[in-house]
Structure formats: C-alpha cells, structure tokens
Amino acid sequence: MRFVNLAEAGKLNPLIPHTAELIVGFVAFSLLFIVLRSKVVPMFEKAFKERTNAIQGGMERAEQAQLEAQRALVQYNEQLSKAREEAQTLREEARVQGSAIIEELRTKAQEEAARITATAQASIEAERQQAITSLRGEVGALAVELASKIVGEALDDQARQSRVVDRFLDDLEKSK
C-alpha cells in the first residue's frame, strides 16, 4: 500500500521537466552535433570515398593487367607454334642433308678402300715378281754349289752326309 501512497503523495512527478536539465540537454546535444558534424562525419566519409576509389582503381588495374596478360599469352602461343614449325622444317632439312652427307661419305670411303686395295695388290704382285726373279737366280746357284760340294766330297756314310748338309746350311746362313 505504501508503494501506491508514494505515487499518490505526488512528491515528484517524473513527467515534469527540470529547467536546468532542459538547458543542459539542449546545449550538450548541440555541442555534440557540432563536433560530430564538423570533425567526425567528414573524416569517415573521406575514408569511405578513398576506400571506394582504392577498390575501384584496384579492380580497373586488375582488369587492365588481365587484358594485357591475355594479349601476351596469345602472342606467346603464336610465337611458339611458329618456332615449332621452324624447328620441324629445320629437322627435315637436316635429315635430308645428313643422309646426303652419309651417302657421299660412304661412296668416298668405298672408292678409297678400292684404291688402297688395288695399290696393295699391285705392290704385292711386284714384290712377288721380284722375289721369284731373285729366288730363281739364287736357287740355281745354290743348287749348283750344293751339288758340287756333294760331288766333291765322298759321301760314305750317313754322318758325313749330314755334316755336309749342315755345313752347307751354315755357310748359307753366314752368307746371308
């Protein structure tokens, strides 16, 4: 009951404004408004605008870069295919040239081999002819000498006979 009584007693009506508070409310709010409008709002707006610009500028730059990159890619691809074609022709040429060179070398080598063989055969033939000629003369002389020695000595026994042959051979060696 007391609770109700207090309200009824009407000591203070909370709906009646207080003069000092009205003045202070007006002044304080106006002050705050002035400060926020002049110092804070422009700065935040500036930050927002700069951020928007930065993001937009960044996006435009990125687009530019992407375009350039695409252009470069196309260019590189063209160059690459051109280079490939070139390499292909070069390889083809090289193969043709290489086989030609090999063919030429082979013919040359065969010719050379034939030539060397021919020379060797000729010189062998010449040497053989020379040996035959010289042998013919020497064999004749030797046979005559041997026969004269055999005849000159009495060939009684086997031992003597072989001695004669040995001496002959020794002479032959010495004369060499």
Binding site: M1, L6, L12, V24, V35, R37, A54
Partner: protein, 262 residues
Amino acid sequence: MRSLVRLSAEGEGFVPPSSNDFNLPPIFGDNAFTTKPIVMVFFSVILISIFFIAASRKAAVVPSKLQFAGESIYAFVRNDLARDVIGHEFMRFVPYLFTLFTFILTNNLFGIVPLLQFPTMSRVSFPYVLAVFTFVVFHYVGIRKQGLGKYLKDIMFMPGVPKPVYILLTPIELATFFLVRPLTLSLRLFANMFAGHLLLLVFIMGGDHLLKGVIGLKLVSPFAFAFGIGLTFFEFMVQCLQAYIFTLLTALYIAGALADEH
C-alpha cells in the same frame, strides 16, 4: 508489486524505490547545474567526441581497430538507418541521426555502467529536448521541401480520401503530427529508461533489504540479486533498442516529410 507490499507490511521498514530516487541532489552546493544527470550528459558528450575524433582522425583506407569500431557504428547509422529509410537525400541527415543515436545510446548505457549506474534518459527533460529537435527538424524539412501551404494541406487533407472522412481524419492527422509524434517519441524513451532503472532498484535494494532480515529472508536474497543481474542484461538490450528506435522513428518522420504524399 504485491511482494513489495507484503514486505513493507511485515514492518521491516523497507522503502520501495520511487520516482524520488531519480531526483538526485546537486553535487556542488545548491547549483542546479551540478546534478548527477547533468554531469553525466556533459561526460557523455566528451566521451563520444573523444572516441569518434580519435577513431576518425586518420581516416585511413585500411582502418585500425579503433577506426573500424567507430566506422562500424557510423556505417550502421549511415547505411542501415539513414540511407535505407530516407533514400537518396540521406546524406544531409546523417550527422543529426548519428549524433542522436550515439548520444541516446551512451546515455542509456550509463544505466548499467558500474559506478555511473544511472540512465540519463530517465530524466524526462532530455527526451523532451531530443523530441523537440526531431520535431523541428522533420517539420522544417517538410516545409522547405514542399512549401508551408502544401505541407500543411497534405497533413490535414490526406489525398484520396472521401470528403466527409476529413471530419474525423483531419483532427487525428493534426494531432499525430504536432502532438503525438513528439510526445510518444520522448515518453517511450523516458518510460523505458525510468522503468528499467526502477526495476533494477527494486531487485537490488530488495535483495539488500532481505539480507538484513531473518535467516529465511537471507536465503531468498541471492535470488533477488540474481534477478537483478539478469535484468541488467535485459536492460542492456532495451537500452540499445530504445536508442535504435528513437533514431529510426526520426529517420521515418524525415522520410515522410520528404515524400510527396503522406
């Protein structure tokens, strides 16, 4: 309320909190300008100014933590309240709405900040002042935009209504625009803060009083305190909400005054 009556009936001398608890004496002598609410209002102005000036001083593209915090509050008022409600002309009203929101929010939150613990807006003078500001702003905007005659005519004679209805509608519309809007705006804020603070007082003073009682009452006292703490969180929500509602309604009134038809 019944429990309060019963407690006082038990004769423990419990004095329930009343509107007298909102009438705080001056801190310095008899000077009416040094009461706690007045000091707190000035304190809030200093606090808000320092915080937002520090937060916006650099206006960097990549914000610091402080700048981000300030920007978030500013962007909330600017985009979610001003731009979405008012439309393309919103930028003119952002400073006013921003001041309104931060001012009310800070002063409301004083109600649960330890040591301060008094919502300034529970003193009806301050909501009155704010409502008068809003009243002046939205009427001024409407008159500037449409001319005094057309503005008043649009309020009194809403277009597209059969003539006899004006007998009923015109007084209602006039009362709405010139009396109900500022009154509800200020009283809603005041009453919420007043009632919230009273509720906290009841539970905390009640808990304190129970603690002084007999053993049975001592055991009940923690529940009163727990309720007080729970209600503090609830109050936090109400305080934020009321700051939002006041700003939102102001934006709506401005948008209405700017629109061609009401």
